[in-house]
Subunit: 327 residues, 2 copies
């Protein structure tokens, strides 16, 4: 049995807890929280909740610690900190800062004799893998990644920080014509605006200035200014009824050519449609947690990414079984 600990009990942490039930070779040993442990009610009977201050006492009980903190602020600190005492995995997704995060975690993991795996999930994660495979098997080609239709947590948070907004959610939506062109094997040059639109559902506070809110959203730099953005004001009831889920998805494409003169075109698409972004991400994390436990048993140390994991390490089945049934 692979003994898992969860650090952070939000959407992702709960997703990991549920995913454990689908993996008979993995058991949940403990949940760690920065909150008062007694304030948490788990879905799994008999699993203890501890405060992060007490993590040291449980080093020997955990094979892999799944770090479920918020990416932007928590993970750069948490993963490197805990990699000294635990094998760890995270879903760090600030693409531009991955190299520095990798270096810091690698140092800590090697110091502690542990294996760490960063930036796991679907993007970064499965989408990264498909980009790498696509680039390697079709070197003469072009990449496209489309996200959505789905809820962007970062953009939803940005909306909710605006004065007069009671609640809000943002959907990232691929532009249908762009998606269609790429799927047909065309290789258009697309600007940011031509690839995705942003659709917002906002519950305003009573008496709020709707025109100002709409303008603040649409002109917000980095988040919305470069996109065609639609803002819909709705009631709290409608919001709870239609927008309480966290669906997401997207497609990674590699379009490449082969032949004596590039005359043969090939289109690869990896497409996912997810009812629950955090539960899917959690499921990916657990499969890679299995690989970490195996690498640790082999004496490997240091920081890894999804690129470094031979796919067979993700499966609970033996090499013989996967060759016989999946090859």
């Amino acid at each position: 049995m692979i003994r898992i600990g969860i650090l952070g009990y939000g959407n992702l942490g709960r997703g990991v807890e549920l995913a454990v039930r689908q993996n008979p070779d993995i058991e949940l040993k403990a949940v760690f929280t920065r909150r008062n442990p007694e304030s948490l009610t788990l879905m799994t009977a008999g699993v203890p909740v501890y405060n992060v201050a007490d993590m040291d006492a449980h080093k020997g009980d955990i094979d892999v610690l799944v770090i479920c903190g918020g990416s932007a602020t928590d993970l750069p600190e948490m993963t490197k900190k805990y990699a000294k005492d635990f094998c760890v995995i995270d879903s760090f997704d600030t693409h531009a800062r991955i190299p520095e995060h990798y270096a810091a975690v690698d140092r800590a993991a090697k110091e502690g004799g542990n294996v760490a795996l960063i930036s796991c999930g679907w993007d970064p994660g499965m989408f990264s893998l498909l980009r790498l495979y696509g680039n390697c098997i079709l070197p003469n080609g072009v990449d496209y990644t489309f996200w959505g239709k789905g809820v962007s947590q970062g953009h939803s948070d940005a909306i909710r920080r605006i004065k007069g907004v009671k609640n809000g959610k943002q959907y990232t939506v691929p532009v249908p014509a762009a998606l269609e062109a790429v799927r047909n094997g065309e290789t258009p040059e697309l600007t940011t605006r031509e690839k995705h639109t942003r659709v917002c559902y906002v519950v305003p506070e009573e008496g709020a200035d709707l025109a100002r809110i709409e303008n603040e959203i649409k002109t917000m730099p980095n988040y919305f200014a470069d996109y065609d953005t639609t803002v819909n004001f709705i009631s709290e009831e409608e919001f709870l009824r239609d927008h309480s889920g966290l669906p997401h998805g997207g497609s990674v494409f590699r379009i490449g050519s082969t032949g004596a003169d590039g005359e043969h075109r090939h289109v690869i698409e990896y497409k996912i449609q997810l009812d629950s972004n955090p539960e899917f991400t959690a499921s990916v994390l657990l499969a890679f947690a299995r690989a970490i436990a195996r690498l640790k048993a082999e004496g490997v140390t240091g920081c890894k990414t999804v690129f470094d994991i031979a796919p067979a390490y993700l499966s609970p089945l033996s090499g013989e079984e996967i060759r016989a049934h999946m090859l």
Copy 2:
């Protein structure tokens, strides 16, 4: 530079030769043939052609031998034979016989201190990888594989063996309603007949009995009897104009659920559309040939499959580069 040899100069061998041009770290050192070497004209200037009888003399010049023989009859003999003296890769695709092929090649490769990789391409190959990833990240789910629309060489060969058939080609075509249902996340139980149809284009010899040919095709056990098959008789001109290519493709699906009660559904699709089946297969083989050369340099021996190769080994880029640009 990784020095490649090609054994067998048919469609696949020529595809490998062309793929070498797209991989600056790979060079083609020699082509080996069972035919008279002087009867072959390569597309690459300066590359020697040798008879297979003389392979021993070139052991030291080749890092990876890409075996491009016909799968059903050649590969079970060839791959295990040459794995003693070379690192080898093949595209063995008789799924039911993979375990015995693996065992024989593993023995030979270990005896010779070489690395071998079998059953590489797209199915088996990339489709196998996607089946494995899908099963590991969504353990509670169902698999579907659809092939086509594309030319099946085995079925085309079977048609051409019928008396009175001058030329023939067979397309495997997914049933649109079945494909649509799966893509929508439904999990229908589908019989063989409900998943694919078979469409044949046949050039009859002059005066041949068309009704007999059509009947022989449609009732052929294993190949056609379990499918809805359409037979179109066409002229030689039409055949050459419209059916001289080797396009193929297909989709691998994993449909799985997560949540406290399986309430969230996730659909993963890996879809490829290929203008040239042999050239795409060749491109996959070359990426994995790169991995073989690296494993050999690390002192690894024995038989591998795509499941055993960490994706980073497929790329000519460094770990640092792929983390910075593809993660």
